[in-house]
């Protein structure tokens, strides 16, 4: 934050303090006089006490020592009065009034010089002190210290006179006005604007010089009045920004970051209602910048940036709107990551993502449930927020845009109208009625007069228009409102509207002109009709309804259908991704239906017998520049039966791969790939099988990949990840079948796995070995996952081990179930991708110094 800002802020605060204190002191005078007449009035006494207390508190905050001291003593005195330790006497009143006078003088000095002045009122302080201590108030004539003060004060010639003549310039130049009154004024001006419009319209019909001149004058005065009344409701945006430095400090602290806040244009003014409306979105955006935007100091250093990140806010007027830019110099948003996320979350297909422009991809952050944060923190990252920011800003007719460069930072731009009460709108007609479309939702106007400009075409009965090569859905205002269609007319007027992020064309009968309109609410009888945003009074005195673009789009079906369809589909997909697992079904030996999670399979291959060779006692093929060992599955599962698979031509091979190593499993036939919920039906005692499950309506045996691969090459898993030091994961899961599945997945991902079937086992495993990470099923017997969590947290050696809770059902992107907040993460055990990503992330965060060491080692 810049020094200039601090100074001006401080000045603002002092000015407000002066206004408030002067008001309070004036009231105090009256209160004291009344108190003298009614000494028993507790309420009055309380009010006096509060006034003094307020002044004292603010003085302490602003560093006005003298004022603080005298008000402090006065407060103590009043507090004794309040508690009944002391009775009010004339002398006491005298003393307090004297304090008030002294305070006033100090305030005058503060206003003139921003300092309290040299007089420290030692005599007054002494008398206050002694009175407090229990002595009867010393009867000193009030004139005496006043005269002293006057003689001692060198600055203003006569403070006493100054006080009477000029109580406070600040207090005189500003008055406090009830906001309700301002609202009323604004309404009245709105009425005046309407009346003016009517007079102007009337004037165009008459040929009267005098009326003409008068109405012109009325026009000018009204415009000026409107502008000025609007100004009374204007507040500098600094009112909201004042709270941000603290917010930034706290957020940065919580995230372990260093962030500096720069504010530019805090005197930019906005209508009060708008200021209130943008308060929350701004807070959220700034918090986002600190949490997601700016990197950790060590990461910034590594990228050659100063350790301290900068979040800057800029506000300025432009073309009747206010622009607010919130930027950080952080990591920026990677467009490719955004697309990836979008595909993962089924927001769009890979193909759609490919066609997306960078801008479109960046705007994905405004979708509900979308987050780019790797880690969900208590500050943010749950994917709620940006969509709320967008909808809040759009609610007040504003626009949000985001620009980002990877490594250089992100800027969010808000465009906000100055005021809400009077808005520009386009007047259109439909049937015989006039309607108004707010300018903010208006994109362009198209007129089709049957010539070369094109025509409305139909896709399966749905009207569309080819606009610059893309199809624009079309709605008819007559139809939407249930009005009579107009007589056949050659020309078609299309109003292109923007609602949320979609566009559509609205066919109207006629387009009139744009007007400044005053939005008036509809009565409660019509509140249910969301298609109208309100009503206004037109120049001819008649009422016209204001249309809501979004609702028209939804009502006419041009928006809702697509959106809903996408929404439900996306929902369905997420559901399935979490719930189901894709399984590869195949046949081998005497096993008619075997299944293995497709996620573990690298490729499916067919090898002609001619390429299969023998080397070192086993069968191999040359595969992608290295040797692929082949293993007949039937021989592992059923060693006694004759093996036909290996001799089949071509041989069906499932290739499993991990890093450099790969192994081909020869099967008799690949059957199918099915998506199904894996639920264990029966556990298997046979080596190489985890158990049986219903897959695709028929029972299949699930392969225990670890056992099979272990049979082929005993050290498969142990050396799989080469030199990479392995993390050990404790897997606590009651069902042996699921445990086996998860174990395979974890081992394939390069983790060492220690297993436990219940809490007691898990705890004993914790005692035994060096565990790096704990995965615990929420349904772990006897009492769920909490027992393990507590065991981990309570043991001194393991308190910092990350614990991941595994749910049996699908997990929502945002919001964990109650009680799950204490875990480091919460994932579905059947969503392999999300689970592994979460584990990798937790593992990566385990020992950052490890990574740093490795790096310095490399540099050497």
């Amino acid at each position: 934050m810049s020094d200039v800002l601090i100074v001006s802020e401080q000045q603002d605060i002092i000015r407000e303090f002066l206004i408030e204190s002067n008001e309070n002191l004036n009231r105090l005078d009256q209160d004291m006089v009344q108190l003298e007449q009614r000494p028993g009035d507790k309420e009055l006494l309380g009010s006096v006490f509060r006034t003094i207390h307020t002044i004292k508190g603010t003085c302490g905050f602003l560093g006005f020592k003298v004022l603080e001291r005298i008000t402090h003593h006065a407060e103590s005195l009043l507090s004794q009065l309040r508690s009944g330790e002391r009775q009010l006497s004339n002398l006491l009143v005298e003393l307090i009034l004297e304090t008030v006078d002294a305070a006033r003088k100090i305030l005058v000095a503060i206003e003139a010089t921003e300092a309290e002045g040299p007089d420290e009122y030692p005599d007054l302080v002494r008398r206050l002190e002694s009175t407090c201590a229990g002595a009867a108030p010393a009867s000193v004539a009030p004139e005496e210290p006043r005269a002293d003060a006057a003689a001692e004060a060198p600055g203003p010639p006569d403070p006493a006179r100054l006080e009477t003549e000029k109580t406070s310039a600040a207090a005189d130049s500003a008055i406090r006005v009830d906001v309700g009154l301002l609202d009323k004024l604004m309404n009245l001006v709105g009425e005046l604007v309407l009346a003016r419009n009517q007079v102007l319209q009337f004037n165009t019909q008459k040929e009267d010089g005098a009326l003409n001149a008068t109405s012109q004058r009325l026009n000018l005065i009204t415009s000026e009045l409107q502008a000025n009344v609007m100004k009374t409701r204007m507040q500098p945006i600094g009112v909201v920004w004042n709270k941000l430095p603290r917010l930034v400090r706290d957020t940065a602290h919580a995230c372990g970051k260093q962030v500096r806040l720069e504010l530019d244009g805090s005197d930019t003014e906005l209508d009060k209602t708008i200021i209130e409306a943008i308060k929350d979105p701004l807070t959220h955006l700034v918090r986002n910048c600190c949490d997601h935007g700016v990197e950790r100091p060590e990461e910034r250093m590594r990228r050659g940036k100063p350790a301290e990140g900068v979040v800057s806010l800029r506000a300025y007027h432009e073309g009747g709107q206010v622009n607010i830019e919130i930027s950080d110099d952080g990591a920026g948003i990677d467009v490719e990551t955004m697309k990836q996320k979008a595909i993962e979350k089924n927001v769009c297909s890979a193909e759609q993502a490919g066609r997306m422009t960078d801008r479109e991809a960046l705007n994905l952050i405004f979708l509900p449930g979308f987050t780019t944060a790797q880690i969900v923190t208590n500050v943010s990252g749950r994917g709620v927020g940006m969509d709320v920011v967008k909808s809040n800003i759009e609610k007040i007719g504003g626009l949000v845009d985001v620009v980002s460069r990877v490594g250089a930072g992100t800027t969010v731009k808000l465009k906000i109208p100055l005021t809400l009460a009077i808005i520009p709108g386009l007047v259109v007609t439909s049937s015989t009625e006039r309607f108004i479309i707010p300018q903010v939702s208006l994109l362009e106007l198209i007129r089709l007069d049957g010539g070369s400009s094109g025509k409305i075409e139909y896709v399966h009965g749905t009207p569309v228009y080819r606009r610059r090569g893309t199809l624009l859905p079309i709605a008819y205002l007559n139809t939407v409102l249930g009005l009579k269609p107009p007589a056949a007319c050659e020309a078609v007027n299309i109003v292109v509207l923007q609602a949320e992020d979609r566009q559509f064309g609205l066919v109207v009968d006629g387009i009139n002109d744009t007007q400044e309109i005053v939005v008036k609410p509809l009565g409660k009888q019509l509140k249910g009709l969301t298609i109208y945003a309100g009503a206004t009074i037109m120049g001819d005195g008649r009422v016209a309804l204001i249309l809501d673009a979004l609702c028209i789009g939804q009502r006419s079906g041009v928006l809702a259908e697509r959106r809903d369809e996408e929404h439900t589909e996306a929902q369905k997909k997420t559901q399935s991704a979490a719930d189901e697992q894709r399984l590869l079904l195949f046949r081998a030996g005497s096993f008619e239906r075997l299944a293995v999670p497709l996620s573990l399979v690298s490729r499916l291959e067919e090898f002609p017998q001619s390429v299969i060779e023998r080397a070192g006692g086993s069968q191999v093929v040359q595969y992608r520049g290295s040797l692929l060992a082949l293993l007949s599955l039937a021989s592992v599962l059923d060693p006694d039966a004759p093996d036909q698979a290996i001799g089949r031509d071509p041989a069906q091979v499932i290739v499993f791969q991990d890093g450099e190593r790969s192994l081909g499993i020869v099967v008799d036939q690949i059957l199918d790939i099915v998506e199904d919920v894996v639920t264990i039906r029966r556990q298997s005692a046979r080596k190489g099988l985890l158990g049986s499950a219903v897959v695709g309506k028929r029972v299949a045996d699930i392969l225990d990949l670890q056992a099979v691969l272990g049979a082929a090459a005993g050290d498969w898993f142990h050396q799989a990840s080469g030199g990479k030091s392995k993390r050990t994961v404790l897997l606590a899961e009651p069902a042996a079948f699921v445990r086996g599945l998860l174990r395979s997945e974890l081992q394939m991902a390069g983790f060492q796995v220690v297993e436990a079937a219940d809490t007691a086992q898990a705890v004993s495993q914790l005692e035994h070995g060096a565990i790096d990470l704990v995965l615990v099923a929420v349904d772990l017997p006897p009492a769920g996952s909490r027992g393990v969590l507590e065991a981990v947290r309570q043991r001194p050696g393991s308190a910092r081990i990350p614990v991941l809770a595994l749910a049996s059902g699908p997990v929502q992107a945002q919001g964990r179930p109650a009680g799950a907040e204490d875990f480091d993460d919460y994932q579905s055990k059947f969503d392999r991708g999300a689970m592994l990503r979460s584990i990798e992330r937790l593992a990566a965060a385990l020992e950052p110094e490890h990574a740093v060491l490795a790096q310095t080692g490399k540099e050497r």
Binding site: E191, L194, A195, E433, L481, G482, L483, K520, L522, G523, K524, Q525, L526, G528, L529, I531, Y532, A535, I537, G541, R542, V543, A544, L545
Partner: protein
Amino acid sequence: MTTLTPNSGKEQDWQKADAQYSTFFVGDLFFGIDVLSVQEVLRFQEMTCVPLAPEVIEGLINLRGQIVTAIDMRRRLGLPPRSTDVRPMNMVVRTEDSAVSLLVDEIGDVLEVEASAFEAPPDNLGPEARELIRGVYKLKDRLLLVLNTERTVDLASGRAA
């Protein structure tokens, strides 16, 4: 003794004292509204119709800059529509929310009625009418029906046609 809903103290007390009623006709029914809740009476006004609105809403009128919803009393009471050559009158009443205009056939006098002449709606009154009629004053020559204005303008409650 009555089927009043105890909405507010005021409402409970309203028939205890003698009162003045603004009267009007809808079809052959003779209605009265407490004169204090009537804001003004206007001739037929230019009206903006509101597409998609409930049928009883005739439109919106501009009452000196205030936008007022007009409710057609014939439709509200389930009566047959008035003949096209009769222009309805606006009876603008104050409600909790805002002013609402009731479109009626004809405006009558302001009548002073005695509390003793009041009687609860007869038991054989249909449920629809019972919803909107608070009670009946037995005048010399005819019956004055007391309209429940709050209910009348609340289209959400009951059977708003």
